[in-house]
Amino acid sequence: MVSTVRRSWTVPACLAAALLLGACSTSATTSSPGSSGAPLVIGASMSLSGDFADLAGPAKKGYDLWADTVNAKGGLLGRKVSLKIVDDASNPTQVVTNYQNLITADHVDLVFGPFSSLLTVPAATIASRFGYAFVEPSGGAPQVFALHLHNLFLAQPAPIVTSGDAYAAYILSLPADKRPHTAAYPTADDPFTTAIVTRIRQRLEAAGIRTVYSQTYAAETVDLSPITTRLVAEKPDLIISGTGGADAVAEVKGMVQAHWTPKFVYFTGGPNDPTFPSKVGAANAEGIFGTSDWLAEAKTAGNADFIKAYVAKYGGTAADIDPAAAEAFACGQLLELVAQRTGKIDNATIISALHKGSWPTVEGNLTWDADGATQGADIVVQWVGGKLLPVYPPAEAFAKPIAKPAWAG
């Protein structure tokens, strides 16, 4: 029989060793602090696996592309940019760990934001605690700005909530006989889509457009057939659908299979994905509306160069570029501009500089309020003649909006 007294020591010893082993296993890599000439390390946590992985991929491409572009021009203030991108597995606990590690273990010089408002919220608070500027590409939900963080800057022309305003304005701009009389509002249940759809619905209901069907479905739903069954049954003139992308494709296919075409179809996410026509059929994509924060045709600052560089690095054409890449690229552009305008590139300078004046990027000219929300507007886009073109407001339009043609089988 083994002596119990002796055995009792093995356990705490194991425990201590395990904890020490654990604590030491994540040893810090060195990166020299900001002496000129030394690389400028920018850290970012991206969802490279997990639920958001399919949407975050283009954002990473945008960051990488920007790093290449700026280094080709000699870097920022003479220092080469080095990106440190880590995976958060679409998980908030990992996001917290990642930004803690990036900032306090690896001592990166600057950080960029992660993908998705859901992860931006915990990440931004950490950056704020350590005084880091937090330029972020895709956290535009109201909760992000409700944090009232002074160091946060969204790199899109408008926060999520107002991005649907443009489309509501378009519908209300139509003469009474062309306007839809009934509307349906299916939406995925996430802060991004729900906020937009709710806001559009409030405006349209106030203007007298009757709601015949309204439904929120779980964000991970992949089988949209119950929704499309109801849509086909109710036959609304207008469909305002809060989608992430894959669900938009599913809804279109459902309607195609049912051989029923609404007069107006708007998706919050999906149509501005360049591969949308290939997923639903080019003829079916025709006439579908969306709103976009970025367009290949837009004459925004540096857009032509961005597109050229993107195509050179990743192949394809301008039409293949996902706006997420442009958003990420814009984050980098903002840093470049701060360096140019102030001659410095530390966090305090970035934070104070970006709160004043207007900053031109591929996403448009950006200005922010105290909470980091941008103050511009998105543009209504529509698939016309096989291309995604801005159609409203008229000042920014490249084409006139068209009526939705019937589905092609």
Partner: protein, 343 residues
């Protein structure tokens, strides 16, 4: 009757000292942050172990209770106006007790099934809770999530209050496990695990002990969820009620040794830093999942009973073979005794 052994007291003291001193030894923010999660998982594994290890009921849905704790914390600090600072920590005890009481009726229903049916039903309950969290928007904010007021702690030592809160909860969890193990309740649970029908036939109060294990396990899990919510400062249904969280805790309990006291803690201490490290270093290449799986498989094949039992087993074998050799030498060295001389 609990037996108190001096060796046990020294173990406990050493453990508490190590816990208390760790963030002071390794002061860097990222280490303390990692320790917060490590200690949290250690506690989750330990409290799961009460039901899954000692009683043998494989609950796969403890994520539900973690989420209930997290939401209770947010509701308490916002809707009920408890406010910020250190006060949210005071909410942890009522949340734990409240959850333990609230789950009793559900537990009574669930515990009528066993093994795989029980496991799947517990997952079912977890998804039900998640659905409720998504749908009762007035209370939980639905998919928009709900915020906990940001803690006002000094940036330099921001993580420390959270670490100590988790550490206290872990100490409580280990203490509870120890008390259970060394008491009649523990014996009853083991009997349930080994052969429930026979135990009941022998007069063991199986229904009562299972219920107690379930309830305590759920309450402790909810406590960790509450502190987590305060640390992350924002709660979304998909993140707070997460099946992977339960699976992680179970893996740690298995790894460390399901029938032991310290097993879950060791399991967590090994896995959490490794997993977060893998995600951080290798995530960009997608090989992080592969590395994690490889580690997992390695452990299962090399240490099938868990770390502690395997180590103990090895030590026992070494000692007994050592002793056998010593006895053999002794026998060879002893002069032959005549029958008359043998005393």
């Amino acid at each position: 009757m609990t037996r108190f052994r001096p060796a046990g007291g020294i173990q406990a003291l050493a453990f508490v000292v190590v816990l208390a001193v760790l963030p002071l030894l390794f002061g860097q923010h990222w280490v303390v942050s990692l320790l917060v999660f490590t200690v949290m998982y250690a506690g989750l594994a330990g409290s799961w172990n009460l039901l899954g290890g000692y009683a043998g009921y494989p609950a796969l849905g403890h994520g539900a209770f973690f989420g209930i704790g997290a939401y209770a914390m947010t509701i308490g600090t916002t809707h009920l106006g408890v406010g910020g600072g250190y006060r949210p920590f005071l909410l942890v005890v009522p949340i734990a007790v409240g959850t333990a009481v609230v789950v009793l009726p559900i537990a009574r229903l669930l515990l009528r099934t066993r093994a795989v049916a029980f496991a799947v039903l517990s997952i079912t309950v977890m998804f039900m809770v998640q659905t409720l969290a998504y749908n009762i928007r007035g209370l939980t904010g639905g998919s928009q999530g709900i915020a906990v007021p940001l803690a006002p702690f000094a940036a330099d030592t921001f993580e420390r209050p959270f670490y100590y809160a988790m550490a206290v909860l872990l100490a409580v969890t280990v203490a509870v496990c120890w008390v259970v193990r060394t008491s009649k309740l523990g014996l009853a649970l083991n009997a349930v695990r080994d052969d429930e029908d026979r135990a009941r036939g022998l007069g063991v109060q199986t229904e009562l002990v299972k219920l107690v294990a379930f309830s305590v396990s759920a309450g402790l899990t909810a406590a960790f969820g509450a502190v987590w919510a305060y640390y992350i400062s924002y709660v979304f249904p998909g993140f707070a009620i997460d099946p992977l969280l339960s699976l992680g805790a179970i893996l740690m309990a298995f790894l460390g040794g399901r029938r032991t006291l310290w097993g879950p803690v060791i399991g967590a201490a090994l896995i959490v830093p490794a997993q977060q490290y893998f995600a951080y270093r290798y995530g960009a290449s997608h090989l992080y999942l592969v590395a994690y799986a490889a580690l997992f498989l390695l452990v299962i094949y090399l240490l099938p009973d868990g770390v502690i039992p395997s180590i103990v087993h090895r030590i026992t074998r070494l000692r007994s073979s050592h002793r056998a050799r010593a006895r053999k030498d002794q026998i060879l060295m002893e002069p032959a005794l005549t029958p008359g001389e043998r005393g």
